[in-house]
């Protein structure tokens, strides 16, 4: 029996009433060895900062294991590892910030491994559906070169998926709309 999905609608401007929760940006508990910060700014098609947006991360732990309860893949044994982070920006600078660890490589269903990556959901007023992107890491050139998902991304656009190193982790800006070389690659999921 097949039903049809409930359609998406915009998250609107007032999501901060309902979506934030305490510690939402802590993908790993505070004080976790090797913890780092991934932060970034979201920009629109004019190059202006988008001040109101929801960003969510979903990722494996440093060993490539997930905090998933449905017995998919290896289960994370890292205490308190949530694998999920949420940011609800509602004023001003349009910056999101997550505390996490760099994920390990995870398997690809057709064999081989995927490079370390984080799945990202972006929602905002003015967006009738979420957009999905992936964060990859610049210090993994060999794994990135062998990654089956990156291989499907036009070569000249792959750089938009690479986080940039910072003093305390990485920076990953999201350009919702822009010239082809700058607009972040989004995926049909």
């Amino acid at each position: 029996m097949i039903f049809e999905v409930t359609p998406s609608q915009t998250v609107g401007p007032y999501f901060a009433i309902g979506l934030p929760f305490e510690g939402q940006h802590l993908i790993v508990p505070e004080g976790t060895p090797g913890a780092l910060t991934i932060s970034g700014t979201v920009y629109d098609g004019h190059g202006d900062v988008v001040p109101d947006h929801v960003v969510e991360f979903w990722q494996a732990d440093a060993t490539g294991a997930f905090a998933d309860l449905h017995e998919h893949g290896d289960q994370s044994v890292h205490p308190g590892f949530r694998g999920f982070g949420r940011s609800c920006a509602e004023d001003g600078d349009g910056v999101y910030r997550m505390v996490t660890v760099k994920p390990g490589p995870v398997p690809f269903y057709a064999g081989g491994m995927q490079a370390p990556h984080i799945d990202v959901t972006l929602l905002a007023r003015g967006m009738l559906n979420r957009v999905v992107t992936r964060i990859y890491f610049p210090d993994e050139p060999e794994a990135n070169a062998a990654d089956p998902v990156l291989a499907k991304v036009p070569a000249q656009r792959r750089e938009t998926l690479l986080a940039q190193p910072t003093d305390d982790g990485y920076r990953f800006d999201i350009w919702i709309q822009g010239p082809p070389s700058r607009e972040t690659v989004f995926f049909a999921v």
Binding site: E4, G18, L69, H70, L128, E183
Partner: protein, 253 residues
């Protein structure tokens, strides 16, 4: 109906317990386009480059379970008891099931809602509409579906409100819904509408879903059976998240 057939029918409605390795991808008509000029804010907030096909790997078929992190209380699902007094407005029960597209209920999945008060005003610093705030209404709720995939909130009926999209623009009354499902691929943020809303023909957000039948899947139904006599009206809203894709084995039939 034989015992075996009965068993098969019952099986369809058992909760999802399997772990799909590949999810359905709905057609373009099922969801609104990201570029939809009648909703003006989409203009600078949609990608212009083509989306890249993402296969459903282990990252996409797993997903977060937040119920432990949120430590939910019964008052989280009753928006009328979160303050010192009762909010103004028509008291309503909003309930339904979360299913996948095979009709299987999703148990233990997080449902998050937020909404305007009875005057159509949000308890948010950016909402400056000249309608009264209600000190007894914040408008946020959370719950987790039960073993049958059912959720239930108690709230008040939100009001319609004007917005700046075009001359004399009004949003139909709605409640925002956010669902995590069981997998990253199932993430859904939507809005639940009320039956027969006179603003439907004029709202570009509602009409951004171009398919009439798909639009109707966002409209709740009045349910006399779910009302609480002498206490609350009731609206029923079932939510469907993507289910597993057909396997090659099934396709060969």
């Amino acid at each position: 109906m034989s015992a075996t057939e009965e068993e098969e029918v019952r099986q369809i409605y058992n909760p999802v317990v399997d772990t799909p390795t590949n999810y359905r991808r709905e057609g373009e008509e099922a969801n609104p386009p990201l570029d939809y000029p009648p909703y003006k804010s989409t203009q600078l907030r949609h990608p212009k480059q083509q989306l890249v096909y993402l296969p459903h790997t282990v990252t996409e078929i797993t997903g977060p379970q937040l119920s432990a992190a949120l430590d939910l209380k019964p008052t989280d699902s009753d928006l009328t008891v979160q303050h010192a007094g009762e909010p103004l407005g028509e008291r309503i029960i909003v309930s339904g099931h979360v299913y996948d597209t095979e009709g299987k209920p999703l148990r233990d999945t997080l449902v998050e809602i937020w909404q305007a008060n009875a005057s159509g005003r949000y308890a948010h610093k950016w909402d400056r509409w000249a309608a009264p705030l209600d000190p007894n209404f914040k408008g946020a709720g959370r719950c987790v579906t039960d073993a049958n995939g059912r959720y239930e909130f108690t709230s008040i009926k939100p009001g319609a409100y004007p917005w700046g999209n075009h001359y004399n623009a009004w949003r139909p009354a709605h409640i925002h819904f956010s669902l995590l499902g069981r997998a990253f691929t199932q993430r859904l943020v939507t809005q639940m509408y009320f039956p027969g809303d006179p603003f439907f023909p004029y709202d570009p957000i509602f009409n951004s879903v171009r398919d009439e039948r798909a639009r109707q899947r966002m409209v709740s139904s009045f349910s006399i059976h779910d009302t609480k006599p002498n206490w609350a009206q009731a609206f029923h809203f079932d939510i469907y998240l993507r289910g597993p894709a057909a396997t090659p084995f099934e396709e060969s039939f």
